[in-house]
Point group: C2
Chain length 343, copies 2
């Protein structure tokens, strides 16, 4: 069923039917209702390509994910973020195109194609690095975009929504310091990623403000896997002056850390404290009455929802200033922290 058939069925012109469905004022309520009913009955909806061609709008937003090599991680946060974003898109009638860039291919080429083909109205940039080239590139290319996170070294204005990773890790480190910990290890994410860079800053800034010298031998940076948490923690427990507390970048890493601690016959929350960032992933509830981990919490799903709303506003209003939003985390106390053991 297309517009022509529907309008013939109704004995109306295509114009009138189109206007009735698109809420134009110059069509009577009676006609509009008749049209809407017939459309529903015949399961009519305007052909996406035709509509896009006529309006110049794709009603589609692009997400580009680069898997630079075969073993590169798929960000575990990805699923929940996309779920949040996608809910909002569909409420506003937008579709999401997910483009996976295979190993060896050029992410920028995907954006160029998007532009040339008019596949999308806007783009979401995920996992920005400290000096992410995509921001300048997209600005030049002229595709509206919003960044989930920030790029510290980018000075031009651009739209972003970020968690305050710096203050989160200041607070986490301060908290451990308040508990008497003086030797605090950091199992960070890969520090070319902006969020990890900022967490490191927060960590160092807190230590410095307490007059503690930073010991690079207990600071690590890697993909956030369980085995990373396990390995580094196991090693840390064997050194001469082992840390009494560990700060980890995600629950997955924290689980690895906890495993190493338990295997060493120590108790988390007594012998060793662990504080982690918690993205509130749906398959890692950390919200028992007393949560498993003390954590800086921030729902990545809600971030996605919020970011999508911002982007849709930007599309509707192309001249607006790029919006920015900085979300603060909650610091919630769980079972994984306690006073530093006295020597």
């Amino acid at each position: 069923m297309n517009l022509k058939e529907l309008s013939e069925l109704l004995n109306l012109s295509q114009t009138t039917v189109s206007r009735a469905l698109n809420g134009f004022p110059e069509v009577s309520e009676r006609t509009r209702e008749r049209v809407q009913k017939a459309a529903k009955q015949n399961n009519y909806a305007p052909n996406k390509a035709a509509r896009g061609l006529a309006t110049g709008q794709a009603l589609t937003i692009g997400h580009v994910i680069s898997t630079t090599n075969q073993n590169e991680m798929v960000n575990p946060v990805f699923g929940d973020f996309v779920a949040g974003v996608g809910e909002v898109y569909s409420k506003h009638g937008y579709k999401m195109i997910l483009s996976i860039v295979p190993p060896g291919e050029d992410e920028y080429q995907v954006y160029r194609e998007f532009k040339a083909q008019s596949t999308v109205d806007a783009v979401v940039v995920q996992s920005p690095s400290v000096n992410d080239g995509r921001i300048e590139f997209l600005n030049e290319l002229g595709i509206p975009f919003i960044v989930h996170g920030r790029a510290s070294e980018c000075t031009v204005p651009y739209a972003w929504l970020d968690v305050n990773n710096r203050s989160a890790f200041v607070r986490a480190t301060d908290f451990l310091h308040d508990l008497g910990h003086r030797r605090i290890a950091l199992l960070n994410g890969r520090e070319h990623m902006d969020f990890a860079h900022r967490r490191r800053q927060g960590y160092e800034s807190s230590l410095q403000s307490h007059g503690i010298k930073i010991d690079q031998s207990i600071v690590f940076s890697s993909d956030m896997t369980e085995s990373y948490g396990y390995q580094r923690t196991a090693e840390l427990l064997k050194i001469d002056n082992p840390p009494t507390a560990i700060l980890t970048a995600s629950i997955i890493v924290a689980l690895g850390a906890r495993r190493a601690v338990q295997e060493a016959g120590l108790t988390v929350g007594q012998d060793i404290s662990i504080v982690t960032h918690d993205d509130r992933l749906s398959y890692f509830h950390n919200n028992a009455d007393v949560p498993m981990f003390t954590a800086t919490k921030s729902s990545v799903r809600e971030a996605g929802q919020h970011l999508a709303e911002m982007l849709i506003q930007m599309i509707a209003n192309p001249l607006m200033e790029p919006p920015n939003e900085l979300l603060e985390v909650e610091l919630t106390i769980g079972q994984s922290t306690g006073p530093a053991p006295s020597k």
Copy 2:
């Protein structure tokens, strides 16, 4: 830059340019090269909507994810699966549309819209339940589709790619039996899901073939979260006749189980054995020299790649029989299993 401009630039007709780019034989090699070069230089690519309208092809494949309620899990497998699928799509020039169905809305309505709007050429059905209504629905609607998994109670033919979950869990259970375990608990996924249903069958079939009566009090079914693994295991360790081995549905659940075991002061692989299914998620390497867990392994990312190839074949060849593919798992021995402790 559109086709008209490009053809004027080249002093050719639009037809010739279009044919040159689309590989038609009736254009000379010299002309073709000239055209291709100019297209690349001017970053020309055919407008997606216009091309779709003209050809009737969307070059797009739909994935519909239902988040039935606010707290429902996002499947942790999702990210890796989508990465696998997406790589293949982009190699073949296909786009992936991801449609998140917000809580309270109707998944079927999304498919109806896909059909009415011709947004997609085909659809991937994820996480099928035992008697999944989508299969019949899509057959009637007339959208080509392939299922990741199967629906046990569906008798009509349809395209699918699945892991042999039944044989996987037969083998896992047999293996534990061989090690002397007689009391084997099962922490399954939600059993309305087909994969969990089949795993249960495999588990029971193995036990029965060894003459072991099934004890429903040590069989569980739930969302596959870490805390599920932890809770159930902690409870199991307290009952009168606790199991000596546990079969879990995913590494995430296994991690929870391991935590409970360690907290009880027991050792995994000695006091309690754990076997899990391992989807080879990129953020849970379980492939050390001796892996952390004994596991039935099957890469969900490779499954995605394979499934995408099948679907693209189906689109190219609409009359073919619905293809099916059953992948066998590897059973790899890790540190989490050992002989049953003698009483």
